[in-house]
């Protein structure tokens, strides 16, 4: 078959033009803001991105465009450079690796670009931020664990991506608030599960084989914890561990309600988004906002998890 290159070229031109026109729908907005998401794939990052879009819609003088960092540092850097080139008025950025994105951000600031960092912050307080405190997120669970985990317990630990500041911060909290105070507790194994449910599932399946007496699963996020819980369910009653997570995802709230998970701390993306977009608007309009803002992490257990479930119902995550 002879291939119609002309036809394809024409189709691509139409498609790209349509996309360009559609994206320029709010050309009359006063300020253009770029939101550079670290990813639009993991559930929390997707929740934050969706929330940022909803919050931006409340400001008629802002046009927001979302760019996906795909969990890759080089893509994050390209997105920063492209936003500068395209003369956005301000960038809200959710860094993938703050230490690596710091350089391009400072360079862009030197060229006059304004920034707001959203979860996590940069290791440089000259860059305004809204963040959640990973130490507090892990620490609330760790303090609960102090009361619940019995003497001489054997536990396993699930970590996020290597070097991730939230994973490391939460782990630091568990170390200081729990393990340093409870030398009787033994860590059977600690592995990286990259925030992923299926990796948590696979690790827990193998751990149940190797260590029949796991008393607690300490996970740096809810996704990995829920994967471990699937393995617990499939073990047919071999183990009944306490399971601690972070993020307050819809799934975690439901698992706590069902008694399969012990606790989580909510990292409320709605709060992060509201404060980030408001800070961005204030900066653009010349108001003087507090440039360093933290959201609080709330601990949810079986006693108060209905509140978390209601939150997720209100945003449509739970039907």
């Amino acid at each position: 078959m002879r291939f119609g290159f002309k036809t394809l070229a024409a189709a691509m031109t139409v498609a790209l033009t349509t996309a360009f026109v559609a994206s320029d729908a709010s050309a009359d907005a006063k300020y253009t803001v770029a939101y550079l998401a670290r990813s639009q794939r993991d559930s929390f990052a997707a929740w934050l991105a969706n929330s940022i879009v909803k919050q931006a819609a409340k400001f008629p003088d802002i046009t927001l465009t979302v760019f996906d960092g795909q969990s890759r540092n080089e893509v994050m850097q390209s997105n920063i450079e492209n936003a500068v080139q395209n003369k956005f008025d301000l960038i809200i950025i959710q860094p993938y690796d703050p230490a690596i994105q710091l350089g391009p951000v400072k360079e862009a600031m030197g060229q006059g670009m304004k920034f707001v960092a959203a979860n996590p912050k940069f290791p440089d307080d000259s860059i305004p931020y809204v963040d959640a405190n990973p130490y507090q997120q892990g620490g609330e669970n760790a303090k609960l664990g102090l009361k619940q985990i019995p003497q001489n317990a054997q536990v396993v630990v699930l970590m996020g991506p290597p070097g991730n500041p939230h994973s490391d911060g939460r782990r630091e909290a568990w170390q200081k608030e729990f393990f340093d105070k409870r030398p009787d507790v033994k860590i059977l194994d600690q592995q990286v599960a990259n925030w992923n449910k299926d990796e948590g599932l696979r690790l827990m399946e193998d751990w149940i084989q190797a260590h029949p007496k796991i008393v607690a699963v300490i996970s740096m996020n809810d996704n990995m914890a829920s994967g471990a819980i699937e393995a617990v369910k499939a073990s047919g009653g071999k183990v009944h561990p306490l399971v601690y997570g972070v993020d307050g995802t819809a799934e975690a709230c439901l698992l706590i309600k069902d008694g399969l998970m012990t606790s989580t701390t909510l990292q409320n993306a709605n709060d992060l988004a509201a404060k980030s977009v408001t800070m961005a608007h204030d900066i653009l309009t010349g108001a003087k906002p507090d440039l360093h803002q933290m959201i609080q992490a709330k601990l949810y257990t079986k006693d108060n998890v209905d509140e978390c479930i209601d939150l997720h119902k209100s945003i449509g995550d739970i039907k």
């Binding site: 592995q191 990286v192 193998d206 799934e251």
Partner: protein, 348 residues
């Protein structure tokens, strides 16, 4: 000179000579399975938790998804093609299955929807490769990106929870055998049958071995390639539904990197990237080798960074041994035995 050597060998160690011949034949034909057995033996000594029915069931469940994908890759690679999009299409198909289940409450319909999605995506792959003559690498690379985008679009990047009874597909068991394992067996038998007992399988080998010769002998190249992609699509769609039900969530970011795992299992199992060579049983063995590796290192509590280093090294060793065994066999057939014994070919 060669006769003197041969007579000397027979005179001195007839039994050893016969045993060495038997071992040589066995290792050439079944090298990958020998590696598998050696791994089982060594792992059994390294961890008391390894050699148990529960652990083997565990491993089989864990590798079930990528093994099903690997069988699809096997068919394609033998035919001189490949599929880089299977991870993304698996996610899209699995999500479709989940959403259909949410709408209908019927698991079978949901799984059919997943399979249909996989077939549709691979129909596109096949058309790009056959009609538009894109290299399979490029065509399926494009589908990798598009399918992932479609999966994320479907749910705005958010997972779908509360799968209810749909989980029985990936977490259930029939007569004590986990359902994912049953599906692997079905797909394995199907792949073996296609490759060994159907005209389609013969044509796939022929196209992979020498496409121009296959064309000259009257084989409808494009039709066969398209059929191979459609079968691969069915496997990918099935894997998607099983995966989501196993993890009890519709995850739009699922399957990232699964194409590499599937390719690894195929290649370790003896499938050749040059086309025309491969077996279903080899792919199954390759999948188990990869699965055993991960499992024994988790049982031993080896740190994840170290695991990756070791995994890469052992995979390279396993493939090198397999290639060396095949090369030795080829040299023997051609009459060039490295042991100095009399060969069957021309005397030098």
């Amino acid at each position: 000179m060669n006769d003197d050597v041969a007579r000397s060998a027979v005179r001195q160690t007839p039994r050893v000579h016969r045993l060495r011949g038997l071992w040589s034949n066995a290792s050439n034909q079944y090298s990958i399975f020998i590696i598998l057995v050696i791994m089982i033996v060594i792992s059994s000594f390294m961890s008391p938790a390894f050699l148990s029915v529960h652990n083997f069931a565990n491993i089989s469940r864990q590798i079930s998804i990528t093994t099903i994908l690997a069988f699809g890759e096997t068919l394609l690679i033998i035919g001189g093609m490949l599929d880089l999009s299977c991870g993304s299409v698996m996610a899209l198909a699995g999500l479709m299955a989940v959403l259909v289940y949410k709408a209908t409450g019927v698991g079978a319909i949901a799984m059919v929807a997943g399979v249909a999605t996989g077939v549709l995506a691979n129909y596109a792959n096949g058309i790009l490769v056959t009609t538009f003559r894109l290299p399979p690498f490029i065509a399926t690379l494009a589908m990798l990106t598009s399918a992932r985008g479609a999966a994320l679009l479907l749910t705005r990047g958010q997972p779908v929870y509360q799968l209810g009874d749909f989980v029985v597909w990936g977490q259930g068991a029939i007569l004590g055998v986990p359902t994912p394992i049953l599906f692997v067996i079905v797909v394995a038998v199907l792949t073996w049958y296609i490759l060994n007992h159907t005209r389609l399988g013969r044509y796939i080998f022929a196209i992979g071995g020498n496409q121009e010769a296959a064309r000259a002998s009257g084989i409808a190249i494009n039709r066969i390639k398209l059929q191979a992609y459609l079968i691969n699509g069915a496997f990918v769609g099935l894997a998607g539904g099983l995966y989501m039900s196993r993890v009890n969530a519709g995850l739009p970011d699922a399957g990232t990197g699964f194409e590499l795992d599937a390719l690894t299992s195929s290649i370790i199992g003896g499938v050749s990237f040059s086309g025309g060579i491969g077996t279903a049983t080899g792919t199954l063995a390759g999948a188990f080798i990869v699965g055993f590796l991960g499992n024994i290192m988790n049982l031993l509590g080896i740190q994840s960074y170290v695991q990756q280093v070791i995994k890469g090294g052992i995979i390279a060793l396993a493939v090198a041994y397999d290639i060396a065994s095949k090369s030795h066999r080829t040299r023997k057939i051609l009459g060039d035995s490295p042991t100095g014994e009399a060969g069957r070919g021309t005397k030098t």
